[in-house]
């Protein structure tokens, strides 16, 4: 683990990604405490303020402090995205490993179906699922998890195929272990590393997807300070104050860049190709 961390830090992307993700986690944990104002307190006399010493990032249409809203919204945005990715990854990893373990026709049938599901764009699939379940943050989380499952199944299966051929799997089969035991205890632990890389990159995508769902009015609901929702609300006031729309947009991009960089750094650290 320490060795891996050292290798991640050696590449410029990895080091920068680690710093950015570290910062993001700090904001997620400490956000509500370091926020200078209450994110929902209205101040009718302080509306549409540009950045100043009093309000570092300005205020919105109700006079709410944008910095405080962003700091509070970090939890809504980032934590949900991480959970959604983890859930989708777990489901996908299970399907992919089982498919590789079964092999033959079952494998073929499972993977063709996974391919078929993947031909629905993930945003569209997420939209349909949220539409089915009803709009809320929790349902958006589920929708993203489901939308990520086939992709993760595909990645996991290609790794698990190699693991399947290893002697320790054959030994487990020879010992007469159950299929569940072999998939869960022998194969899954050995496909974890590449999956974590894929997962890190997907967190970036999940943040974007979740913010997009909220932006379209199908994720977090007002008065939440989820970042995509903040952008959607700020659009109407773009002419009055461009700052309102700029900050949450940059926040989403910042998180996505952080996780993308970290994912690439991890990938280089785990399989140094050049």
């Amino acid at each position: 683990m320490i060795e891996l961390l050292r290798r991640v830090l050696r590449s410029p992307q990895g080091a920068l990604g680690l710093v950015l993700v570290g910062l993001i986690l700090l904001v997620v944990i400490l956000g509500p405490w370091i926020a200078p104002y209450n994110p929902e307190s209205l101040a009718p006399l302080q509306r549409y303020k540009p950045p100043s010493a009093q309000f570092w990032l300005g205020t919105d249409q109700y006079g709410r402090d944008i910095l405080s809203r962003l700091l509070h919204g970090a939890r809504a945005t980032v934590v949900l995205a991480v959970f959604a990715t983890a859930l989708g990854t777990l489901a996908g990893a299970l399907i992919g490993t089982i498919s590789a373990f079964l092999g033959g026709r079952s494998d073929e049938a499972i993977m063709r179906t996974v391919d078929a599901v993947m031909s629905i764009p993930s945003l569209l699939l997420a939209l349909l699922i949220v539409n089915l379940l009803g709009k809320s943050s929790l349902n958006a989380l589920l929708a993203i998890a489901i939308a990520f499952t086939p992709g993760m199944a595909r990645v996991t299966r290609s790794v698990a195929l190699a693991v399947r051929k290893q002697d320790y799997v054959n030994a487990a089969i020879a010992r007469g272990e159950s299929a569940g035991f072999i998939v869960w205890r022998e194969m899954l632990p050995n496909v974890v590393a590449p999956i974590i890389v894929e997962m890190t990159i997907r967190v970036a995508f999940a943040v974007m997807l979740f913010a997009t769902l909220s932006f379209l009015g199908l994720g977090a609901q007002p008065p939440a300070s989820e970042w995509g929702l903040m952008v959607a609300e700020a659009r109407r006031f773009m002419h009055l104050s461009p700052w309102m729309i700029l900050w949450p947009s940059l926040a989403v991009a910042f998180v996505a860049i952080g996780f993308n960089l970290l994912g690439d750094g991890l990938r280089d650290a785990l399989n140094p190709r050049t």
Partner: protein
């Protein structure tokens, strides 16, 4: 490439569409709200509701409903919109045409910019140019469409007032105005594509430039340009075809957001409207047509790939 391989791929496209139709139907038809209540309102009489359900086939078992719907789809009949009362199929196909136009312009712009950027980055690997391209592509990949759209509107439409922020004018009606309305949506969609593809071109080209046959070509004394364009690029671009095909899936997701933001009446916007008004036949048709477009695109990419790369023998 044998006919058997092509046949197998065609069967797979068919299977894909079958699975997608099942998923789409399942997700939409088990909506919590009762379609008949939605159309007639809360105060409708029980008889009126029952009559409408019978008319819409909602009283039949779910499998019969699916079979009925699928049979219609196969004849090109996607049903009637619950919102407008129009035939859904023609409306969606017309909208798809506008979306494909948007996608086509975006892909052309992407190829015009992503290839040179990727080549420069690979050739000048580790230098400033490479760094600049990497930074641009990281930012591009990390901006969701709604953020990119917001930024381009803010700068090009709001501050500089060069281009209209929303709306759509058919190209056949007024070519110049039509193109002006397409610029911002195309820019928005291209950003992520350019970022993604230029990264791909760079890494493929870097790999190819390290191979023995490139060394051999260099040592033979061929000019650098010839080596780069005739020997290296050809091989580096092959995997890029697959990536472009995969990106079409992303592209179709992207048009949903972009069309909504720029009020461009393509299939994505139709879908959003359908979802917001819970117009089942439109949602089903839109989702199915989108998935079908993607399945066909990736099928064509596979065929093109096999055609271009003679080393690959499919059976």
């Amino acid at each position: 490439m044998s006919p058997a391989y092509i046949l197998k791929r065609i069967v797979l496209v068919g299977y894909t569409l079958l699975v997608v139709s099942l998923i789409v139907f399942a997700i939409t038809q088990i909506l919590p709200a009762d379609a008949a209540v939605m159309m007639l309102g809360e105060n409708a009489t029980a008889e009126a509701l029952a009559a409408l359900r019978a008319q819409m086939g909602l009283d039949a078992p779910i499998w019969a409903q699916y079979g009925h719907w699928l049979a219609g789809v196969l004849r090109g009949d996607f049903g009637v919109s619950m919102r407008t009362g129009q035939q859904v199929g023609p409306v969606m196909i017309e909208a798809l045409g506008r979306s494909l136009l948007l996608a086509l312009f975006s892909i052309v712009l992407m190829l015009m910019l992503a290839l040179p950027l990727g080549i420069i980055a690979a050739v000048r690997r580790g230098r400033i140019a490479d760094l600049v391209v990497s930074v641009i592509s990281y930012i591009g990949v990390s901006l969701p469409e709604f953020v990119t759209a917001t930024l381009v509107v803010l700068v090009l439409a709001d501050w500089l007032q060069w281009l209209p922020a929303t709306g759509y004018v058919p190209l056949t009606e007024n070519l110049l105005q039509g193109l002006r309305h397409l610029v911002l949506p195309v820019l928005t969609i291209s950003v992520i594509l350019i970022a993604h593809v230029s990264r791909m071109v760079r890494s493929e080209l870097v790999d190819v430039l390290h191979t023995d046959y490139i060394r051999a070509a260099r040592l033979k004394g061929l000019p650098g340009r010839t080596v780069l364009y005739k020997h290296a690029l050809r091989n580096a671009l092959l995997p890029t075809i697959t990536i472009v095909a995969l990106d079409i899936g992303y592209l179709l997701g992207g048009v949903i957001v972009v069309e909504e933001i720029f009020a461009l009446p393509g299939i994505g916007r139709q879908l959003i409207v359908a979802i917001q008004s819970r117009d089942l036949p439109s949602i089903q048709a839109g989702a199915l047509i989108m998935a079908a477009t993607y399945a066909v695109a990736s099928f064509l990419a596979d065929i093109a790939y096999a055609r271009l790369d003679r080393r690959i023998q499919y059976d």
